[in-house]
Each structure stands twice: as structure tokens, then as C-alpha cells.
Symmetry: D2
């Protein structure tokens, strides 16, 4: 093997599985390695350090291997400044740009390490030389002339490491199973939420209309009223059916308290939307006393911001719905960077959208009756997601009960 | 069309959808029809009567059409006695035998109508001439010389008719959806169970091990203790993990109250089985104080019979498990004919097994996290099943709560 | 029962199940009925005629029952003109408006029957008096002053009736099962598509990115090239990954021909989008020789229009994507009214969106690996959908093969 | 931490993820560690060696930690002979018995290492002192007086290590996704099967009735005829419907070639069983020319053994079905130990049963339309299973095509 370069790794690299992934990647891609230095952390709290000479038969192969190792936190022993290239046109990416992970990331510029702001996966890093800032930038925001970070050089990634002590919350790491003790899992989520709020943490909810159809809306409204929710991401359907339920007792025309179809009920969601259009907005409809309870009501009354993103299947929509999806995405991003925990309930579309923009250190719980939804979320890169296979209609009332205890 | 025969239909044949199915069947199979008499029930309580001349191009085609109509309750205006043929050997069915539906069925023999006993689908009818009895007989029970009913002649089927008044329970007729108001549905099931017990009705539970894994066992134990269950159908896994949970707090080695894996817990189900083997039976283990709570404990203490059927994947098994599946089926059948309601939770295998042997008038509720399970049950002929897409771990505690109110 | 009104029904009302639904509805809603005239169609081709006196205890209850019967095709014996009301503001619906079904619909205006244009479910009907036109109007298009049809009076609905002869295609009516003979079903869909194209019919495809991920894109490209597709509805993901695959051989970074992850492949979809942005549009990229094959390429080369609707989870997006969802919906509607068949593959979001706007007479096939997707589509009102539980990656190659035979 | 013991680990322990799991286990269980020796394999081919001092606060906690590490291949630096205890009664396990993993296992007895025969998970090890043999024994086979291995001492486990070179087959390691390139995956399975047969390897098929219902039986019959299958595990349903299809063209009464219901078809599976009962066995029915093609026919003609295990839902059953499930399990075990690959198609029950008895080095592919089935298989300990989310009706014809190339 004629081409080789040295990299180093530092931290709890064995028990976090990073060394395993490094060796796997080298071998999967046909490379070879020699360990030149290996200082293993002798005790639980000690970090390890490894220096590894990676080899490959060809230059491009070596570059590709190093690019994968980079994303696992590997870096050359001596680090140069990042290389920059100017974007040639709006939204046209330079060939060879650095594509972000969702892990905390630093870039070396002017000899200094700068933390990349607003990190999320699959974006570019734009350096603002005068301000000594580096900003994670989705391609849709790339402007002509932006200074884009190229290649891996000068970039450092910090993948999550295994916490040293057992947190209440680490009970499930990433698995999805319909054979978990449901009440126990829900109780632990409630505990984690309480701890997090005690520390001043922030929690976001991503919700689909199944919350309303399964009659879990009163439980979610209660959770919002009790102060557990800092932002709500949803679509037209959740808000419409929530308002429909609170105006007419129905959701998609079904009387939720009796489980029967209401006569003429198929028009109720149209009336609900129409009432809000007449009032001008959900806030106005609450202020005028048109909407008197429910999820959206509690959001307004408790100053919990919400982002309602439009989708192609929407009726209406409500005036609060952002029909331009790129604009909705931007609004969503504004709220995401601050969150410590996100609970996604019964909506694959919004869960993937939010998951795409979340840093990897945000605790992410995905509740869906379909185990495939969680798998799909993780396939899309939201590896930190914990799956709970349950039904919104029984999950949320139990969560509300345990939060209340 | 050269071949034709006249049939008649009686009852609430329009609103029960029977006329529609009759016409569909004739047309699907390429036949034709002429309505010779049609007396429609003028008012809600009145029955209708139709006489229809069915035609086909060929004799066999006509026979086939009539055979389908027969299963919908159609019969010739004049009914002869059934034709019988003796079984030539054990378990060898005569060519042209009458195959049962799961609807109440009468046969005409010696000029008299006899109700077929123990009706279930896909069986033969054996007439015992001396006793004037007709017995629904699975092929595994057919003995050489048994008098088997041949063809449709002399057989009358009574498919279920739409009830004249709205029962609390008719809210869902046969649909399966994960978008129902979960608490409302569960409350209605609880109400129906209470009504049924007030009238002296009998309820069976068919359960899979997910009940234990999701920590719903205490709820089911409570429901049994409160007298709502008349028989339990399950397998080795449900009983083993119930006992494991009550002896060790684990199920499949997972500590259910904390949701963590118990050290050495992978051996607990083996110990649980071994303890019962040492005691001789579940009853002995309860009597000796080895088992002190749980589903099986409540069955023993409250004299609720149970049938534990073996399956190829069993560990152990427990001494109470019937390892011969045909024997287990017989034991199951003994209990099924008396039931008014069956609730199936988290087990496709046992649900299909029980469903196969249930008459169509037994209220059947199938609770599964996988909507495909209910569809499969209905595809196998258990049309009366109502599907609830939910998780055992949240369904059963809610059901227990509503039953307790 | 003090309130009653007479309605009539005409057509193949028994074998199409309409009479059953009428009686069910009356009884479910606590009403009563008396049949005053019933002329049954004696032979297969004859239509039936029923006149029914419907009664209820209260005026509102009666109105509600009649509203449901109306949607099943029932109408009063003497029909007045429709009642109109002017919309008081844009997108604000008048209280008591008539909400459409997805069945062909006529309104009586100026003593004449006018066919409602562009019928789809859950919309309003706006009458344009001068032009003697009636237009099905989604609430988002309602303008102040529009003359909206109120109540059921003067409106006639024609629900689909059972075809008199067995069509090749009627093999499955509405069922969903993963236990169908897959090749047989696919062969029959191919036959139906061929027949339909021979008659000059039009076929739409609704597709999700699973088509690309499962490597079924070459098969769909071939089907388009062979002229079977008249319009394609999809999102940014399908088009992006199709172009990614054709530029780089990957989809979401996975090398589809070897099934392995390509080094640096996670950037390929960004490059694909960027290349199209640089070219200006997909058409330009095809014209300039950037895109040389694939689904989008065949659409451009064969003048098959496509609608790419934006969604909140989009990267990029491609310049051809309509990011405003209401605008995308309008564009979709333009193409839908002409179609005779729609095949939906692996996308619940777009399938529901298209299904919402489809008249009930359009043949609708929904192919998804998840049986719950088809159920959800039907729950949303697209009753005519036929479900095929299969995997895009094996379904499309087989369909292409059978179309080619 | 007052209690500590030293263990050692050897092999490719970093890149196989074993070190990570060891550290995870110690920390999850509240223990601590100090690495006393660590010789890292410098190059790809070199093995590593670690000596670790594990500590805990209590003796039992330490024992529990060591028991988990043992299952990962850890062992004390000096190894004593195993401790044995005699079983006090048939099927009653001694308290503290050693419960097997499904990895290759050695026991030290009389100072020598003996390989444990017929290894499978969750069993006991019985040493036969005179013969110097150690036999993996399910509790159902345990006899009074058997010498049972107690605790971990003297037992060595060899968990699978990452292969040094990329095998064609390692493309998926354990993942389950419905978004894989289907044809590519199937082609690779075909290649692996061909390679394996070239080396004289053995392949087992585990199949459910969906193979017949989806009309994939001709494809499986061809694969058997071409010599790719060494044993077939199934139930009554697969064999019955295969024979039904070959006698009558139907499966569960549906005409598979046209996809329509056959008149009187609901009796065909009863006739099929009855014909085989008359003949005496499937072999006799083939010999007498009753069965002329299909899966079971090819098994008989090509001397491929099959095990048909009974289940509680069986009709009939066929005389070849083993109705006692424990006996069926034994028969299954006889064939399993020799296999190199098992392909499981459309049957969760039999897949879990077979998976329970398979050593971890057997290549295991699980094909199911429901992703949850594969997850469940892995949850039950069959970690090596690779999931393919596809439909038997399209998977098997494609596999037959690629095997034929």
C-alpha cells in the first residue's frame, strides 16, 4: 500500500464504539492500518489516545477513507487552517465542499478554533472572515461569494461519547421494540422531562393529527399548560383537527367522545378553518373567544411558539400555516438549536424534517405505532432517536398522568 | 342460459347486505337472474322475502353459483332431506361433502330441521340418525362409517343480520384503524363487557406474551380477579413469562419495573419453568405458595380454566402445556362454544386458531399493534372481528381502569 | 316519529350496496323508514326504483339523515333549484354550504341540470349564473361574492354502480392483503394499463423516493419511455435521487448496483441538486446533456408533464420543485381531472394528496410495503383504491416486464 | 470498590466491537475497571490482547458483571475445570447452571478443553465424563443425574469476529430496511448461495404459507429441483396449500393464476389433505402419481428432507405433520447443526423456532414483508439475521432467476 497518512483519536474512543467504527471503515473500504501509539485510559474516567497510520493503494481511496474517519472524530496530528472557496452562484455548491455531520464541529481559521454555529447534518460551513464566525449553512441559503469550507482539513468533529454514569434515560439506546414495558418507559420519559425542566432545559414536540384522531389532544393540552413544552412543530392537520375537536367535538367528522360518525361532521374541519380565517389567525380566534381550549389554545395562552408547515395534502389551510416549505423550514430551524429534547409523535414527515436539522446531542424520542417509522428516521441520520412503539391515544394520557405525579 | 333454479331468501336481507352479496355472486360467476317475487319489508321491523330464478350456461356453473348463494342463506323453495354418505376411512372426506360456514346452521333430516351442534367453519356435518343429532365435525375427528352431509340440499344457513337497534357495541363494525379515539373505544369495550357479565354472558381471552413484555400482566390479572374472564387461551410463552415476572420481576430477562436488563436474567424463564416442573403443575405451584400473583395465579385462584397450547418455538415447556397441537385444539373447542365474546391480544397464531373455531355470532375483538394481524384474521374467515390497533401495555391498564369505574 | 320526508333512489341500487347503506344510515342515526314504492329490476340489466318515507323524532335529526342519504344518491321526488348564498369573504365558507363527494354530481339551476365541473371531495360548489356553469371549488379558491350552493336541495349525486360485466380489473375490489398472488396481480394491472392506453385513456403515476432506493427507477423510466405514463406526481426526493442515481450511481449515498455505501456518497444528492440549479431546470440539464437517463430524463424526452411538490423535509430543493404547497396543489389539480387510472407507489403523503382530488371513477391502485398506507388512503375517502402490498423494487421491474410482453 | 477480579480478552476485540461491549457492560452495571495490560494488534491481521481488572462494590454485583463479560468471550487468566452438579430430576435445572449462548463454546474438563456439541442458545451443558464429551442440552432433554456445568468457570465462549476481508455477503450486517435496492440484494444472496454450494455447504429453507398464497411456489420448487436446498422447515399450511395448488390451482380457495376465488374452492385444502391421508403420506401420494409437481413434490423427488411442525391452528393435518411440538423440535434440531445458511421466508413462528436452535455462525436471512418480524427475530437472540423487507411473491421468482443465471 503506497499511500498513507497518520491520524489521531482522543476521548472515550473504545467504549463509545468509535475505534470499532474506525477499524470497520478502513477495512470495509479496502485500506490497512498500523497503530503507532495507543495509550488506553486505564480507568473508567480516563480518556484514551490513539495514533494510527492509515494506508491505501491509491490516493483517492486514502482520501475517501480519511473522509469517513474524519466524521468519526479522527484528525491529523498537525492541523492546518481550513481551505475556503467562494460560492460561484447562489445555491451552487463548490465541488469538494465539506458536508456537515450533526455532531458539534469546530473549524480552524486564522490559527484559531471556531465553533460552527447552528450545526445540522448535510449542510455546508460558511466562514465569515471578518467576524471570525463559522456558520452551518443549508444549500438553499448559500449566496454567491460565500466562503465555503472545502475538504476535511482544518475541521474537527466531536461525535457523542458514552456518558460516564448511567443516566435514567440511557435505558434504551436507540432500540425500537414493541415488546418493552410500556408504562415503565413512559414513566422514565416523564422523569427525564421533569429533570430537564428543573435544569431549565427546553423541550419541543413534533406532532401529527393522529394525536387528535386518537383523542389524545386533551392530554397534550394539559402537558403544554403545565409548562413542559417550549415549541410545537406540526402541520395544518393537527391544528385544524384540534380546533375542530374543540369547536364541534369531532375529528375528521368522527365524534371522539362517543366514537361515532357525527351527522354532517365531514364539514366540520372546513368550518373550523373558515372560522379561523374569519378571525384572521389562531391567536385572534383565541382572543375573540372562538377557540376556548385545546392544544393550539394552550400554545397561545402559555406563549408557546408553534410552527405549522404546509403540505401538499392540506385543506384550507389555516392562515397560520406557512405554505412555502422553505420558509417553514427556516422558521423551524430558528427554534431547534436551543432544544434539549424533542418528542415526535405520530408523524413521519415532520419527524424526518425536524430530525434533519437537529444536532446529535439533542435527546430525541419517536413515538409511533409503526416500528418502521423509527427505523426510517434513524436511516436518515437521526441516530440518537429512541423509538417507542405505541399509540398516541394511550401514550399521551399516560405521559400526562406520570408528569402530574 | 339453459340451466336455472329458483331460490328464496328471507329476513333483513337488504340492510344486512345479503341481497347485494347474492347479486354480486351471481354476476361475478357469470350467471344471470330474474326476480320472481319480492316483498320488501315496508317498515324497519319487517322482514323481506325474495324469490329469484338463477340461471347459468352450464350445469356445473349453476351448481357453483347456488353453492355460494347457499352460504348466504339462500335456499330452494321446497327443501328435501339432506343426502348422506358414509366416510370410507378415518379422516378421509367423501367427494362432494358439505363444508360448513361459521353461521348457525340447520339440516333437514327425517323431515325435521335439526340444529347443527358446535358449529365452526370448514368442517363436515355428521348426522347421527338414531339420535336425530347433527354434529359439526372437523376432518381430524371423522371416523370411518360416519354419515356425512353431502352438497347443499337440506342445509340451511343463517348468516348474521343487522341488529334492529343500535347497540353500544356496533360502533365499529369490522373496521381496523390506528386513528380511532383510543380511550373511547376502550371505554366502550369495558361497557360491553360489563353488560355482558350482567346478563350472565361468558368472555374468553386469547393472549400472547407481549402482554407480559409490555408489563400489562398486572392489569390482566386484575381483570381476571374481578370476574370478567371465563377462559384463557394462550401458549407456553405467556404463562412462562407471567410466572417469571412474578418470581423474578423480569420478562425475557428484562426487569419490567425499571426497563433495564437484569444480570443473569436470561436464565429466569428457565428457572420459572423448572420450578413449575418441580411442583408438578401450575396449580401445585400456586398451592405450595411458589407462585403468589399474576395471570396464572388468578386463573387458579378464581377457577378460570386455561388452555396452554404448545408451539414449535417453546422452551421447556411448562407441564401444563399441551404439546400435541391436535389435543390442544380439542381442549380449546370444549370451551369455545359457550362464549359470547372473545378478546384477542397480541398473538396472531392463537387468534387465528381460536377464530377458526368460533361461531360468527360471538363478539370478537382483536387488539394488536400491527394492523395487518386483524386483516389476516378476517381474511381467514373471522369476519366479525373488530380491530383495535393498540399496544397491550397501554390497552390493558386502561381497560382495567374503565372496568373498575 | 313526527318528522318525515320522501326520497327516491334509482339504478342498480341493490347490487351496488346502496340500499344497504341507505337502511344502515337511517337506523344508525335513530330514524325509521317505510318503503312506499319498490320496483325491483327483474333482470340483471334492469334498474330498480325505490321510494322511501324517512322519519325521525326531530327536524334536525331528519335533516341529518337526509344529508347522508343524499350522498348515497337519494333525492326528493320533486327537485327544486339549488339555493345559493354569496361568500362573505375570500375563503370564508357560508354556514350550511353543500360539501361535495368525489362522485359525479349535477345541480339544478334555472330549471336545468348542470354537471359540476372538476369534481373532488370536501369542496364547495360555486354556480356561475351567467354561464350556466357549476364549478367544484376548494375553500382556498373561494372568492368573496361567489355563489355557493347551500344544503342538499337541487343537488344530485351519482355514486358508482357495480359494472354489469366482470372486468378484468374488478378482481380485487378495495381489499388489501399481503397474501395475494403477486405476479398474477401485477400481470392484471399490466393488462388493464394496455387496454386503457388502447382506448386512449390516461394514466398518472404518484411516486415516492423508495422507487429509487429500491433500484426500481430503470423500470419506471422504461414504462415512461414506452408511453404508459401521462403525468408524474412526486416530490423533491424522487427527482433528486433519480438524478443522483443517474449522475453517480447512488441514492442517499448508497451504490445501488452493489448495495454498498459509496465513499463521500452522502454529498451526491447535494451535487445533483446543485448541478440542476446551475443548469436552471431539469429540462435545461437534460438539454445540456447533464442528465442522460432516468425517470426525469424520460419525462422530459417524452413530454410527460410532472409536478414536483415541495415538503418541509426537502434538501435543496431542485428549481423545478414548487415550494408553495397550495400552488403545487393547483398544478396537480390541472392534470388530475383527465386521468382514467392512477398508480401510487411508496408515498403516503402524495397518495393522500392526489386521492383527495380524484373523482371516484378513476381507477386507483396503491402499491406500498405497508398495508396501513392503503387503509389510511381509504379512510381519507379514496374508497375506490385497490391495495397491493409489495415492494417497489420488485413490483416495478415485474410490471415493466409484463407491459413489455 | 472492594471486590475485583482480573479477566483477559484476546482476538480482534476492538474492530469486532467486543471491547466496547465489555466497557459498556461494566459501566451499565455500576462497576469499574482498570486496564492492566493492553497489547493492541498493530496491523490489520494482528490480534489484540487485554487484561482488565474489574471491580464492584459487592460480590454479587461482581459475579453478575463477570457473567455478562464471559458471554462476550472474557475469561480469567488461569482457568480451572468446570464445576458440575447432578440434575435432581428430569427437566429440573440446578440452581446456578450455566446457560449457553449460540456461539461456539469450549469447556475445560479433566484439564482439557472440550468443544460443546450441538450448541444453541438458552440450554444447559451436560458433561459425559467417561466419553470426554460435552453436550448442549435443552431443558426438555435433561435427565436426572446428568452432570450439568455450573457457573462460568471453565467455560470459554468464542463470539463471532469481524472477518478480515470483505465478503460479498457482509453487505448488510444485521440491518433491516425497506429502502434497499431489492434486485441488488437478491442477486447477492443468489451469489452467496452459489458460492456456498460450490464449497459443499448446506442451505436450509424455513417457509410459511405466504409462499403459496403469493404464487411463489413454482419458484421455490425450481430452487429445490436445482439442488440449492438441503432441508425444508415448515408447517401444515405450507405443505397443504402447496399440494392444494398443484391439485386444484388454488390456495385457500383462490385461483392463483387468475387471482379470482374458485367456486367451491374453500373445500380444496380439505380435499388435498384428505387425498394425502388416503395415500398414507406425502411420499406415497407422490409415488402414486397423486401429487405431480410443487415444493413437496420436489422435496420427495430430490431427497430433500422436510420437517412439518404442527400448530394449534392446523386443519387436518397432513399425516406427515408432527403434531407433538417437542418431537417436531427434536427433528428440526437434527438437521440444523450441519447448516451453513438458512433463509427464512414469511413465517415468524418457524423463524423464531429455527433461530433459537441455530449457532451464531450460520448465515441467516429473514425475508418478510413486515420489518417488525426481523426485529423480533433479533430481539430473541438471533443477532446474525439479515433482514430483507420484501414480498415472497416477488422475492422468490427473482431469486430463482438470479440463481439460474
Amino acid at each position: 500500500m503506497d499511500y498513507s497518512r497518520e491520524i489521531e483519536l482522543k476521548g472515550h474512543i473504545i467504549d463509545s464504539g468509535i475505534m470499532t467504527k474506525v477499524f470497520d471503515a478502513i477495512m470495509d473500504m479496502g485500506g490497512s492500518f498500523e497503530i503507532t501509539v495507543f495509550d488506553i485510559g486505564k480507568k473508567k474516567q480516563d480518556e484514551s489516545y490513539a495514533r494510527i497510520l492509515v494506508s491505501a493503494d491509491e490516493e483517492t481511496q486514502l482520501t475517501e477513507i480519511l473522509s469517513v474517519l474524519h466524521r468519526l472524530g479522527a484528525r491529523p496530528p498537525v492541523i492546518e487552517d481550513v481551505t475556503l472557496a467562494a460560492a460561484e452562484a447562489d445555491r451552487v455548491v463548490p465541488q469538494g465542499f465539506y458536508s456537515t455531520t450533526n455532531h458539534p464541529t469546530m473549524v480552524k481559521y486564522g490559527g484559531e478554533w471556531i465553533r460552527v454555529e447552528a450545526i445540522e447534518m448535510d449542510c455546508l460551513i460558511v466562514v465569515v472572515p471578518g467576524d471570525m464566525r463559522a456558520i452551518c449553512t443549508p444549500m438553499s441559503k448559500l449566496k454567491v461569494g460565500d466562503c465555503v469550507v472545502m475538504g476535511d482539513a482544518g475541521v474537527r468533529v466531536e461525535p457523542p461519547q458514552r456518558p460516564r454514569k448511567v443516566s435514567t434515560f440511557e435505558f434504551m439506546h436507540g432500540t425500537v421494540s414493541s415488546e418493552r414495558p410500556s408504562e415503565t418507559v413512559i414513566r422514565q420519559i416523564a422523569e427525564e422531562m421533569r429533570c430537564l425542566k428543573d435544569r431549565g432545559g427546553k423541550i419541543g414536540i413534533v406532532g401529527g393529527p393522529a394525536i387528535i384522531h386518537t383523542r389524545a389532544a386533551p392530554a397534550l393540552a394539559q402537558i403544554i399548560r403545565e409548562g413542559y413544552v417550549d415549541v410545537l412543530f406540526a402541520g395544518n392537520a393537527l391544528a385544524t383537527h384540534d380546533i375542530e375537536y374543540n369547536l364541534f367535538g369531532t375529528s375528521l367528522g368522527m365524534n371522539l367522545d362517543s366514537g361515532t360518525l357525527a351527522a354532517g361532521g365531514h364539514k366540520n374541519h372546513i368550518y373550523a378553518i373558515s372560522e379561523v380565517i374569519r378571525a384572521g389567525s389562531i391567536r385572534n380566534a383565541v382572543d375573540k373567544g372562538v377557540i376556548k381550549k385545546g392544544i393550539m389554545y394552550e400554545c397561545i395562552k402559555n406563549d408557546v411558539p408553534f410552527v405549522l408547515a404546509g403540505s401538499i395534502r392540506d385543506d384550507g389551510p389555516l392562515p397560520d400555516v406557512i405554505t412555502d416549505v422553505m420558509e417553514a423550514q427556516d422558521r423551524m430551524r430558528e427554534y431547534l438549536q436551543d432544544l434539549d429534547m424533542v418528542i415526535m409523535i405520530g408523524t413521519l414527515l415532520h419527524s424526518v424534517a425536524v430530525g434533519n436539522c437537529l444536532p446529535s446531542y439533542v435527546k430525541t424520542i419517536c413515538v409511533d405505532i409503526n416500528p418502521a417509522s423509527v427505523t426510517k428516521l434513524m436511516d436518515r441520520g437521526t441516530m440518537q432517536a429512541i423509538g417507542v412503539v405505541s399509540d398516541a391515544g394511550t401514550f399521551l394520557p399516560m405521559l400526562a398522568k406520570y408528569l402530574g405525579e
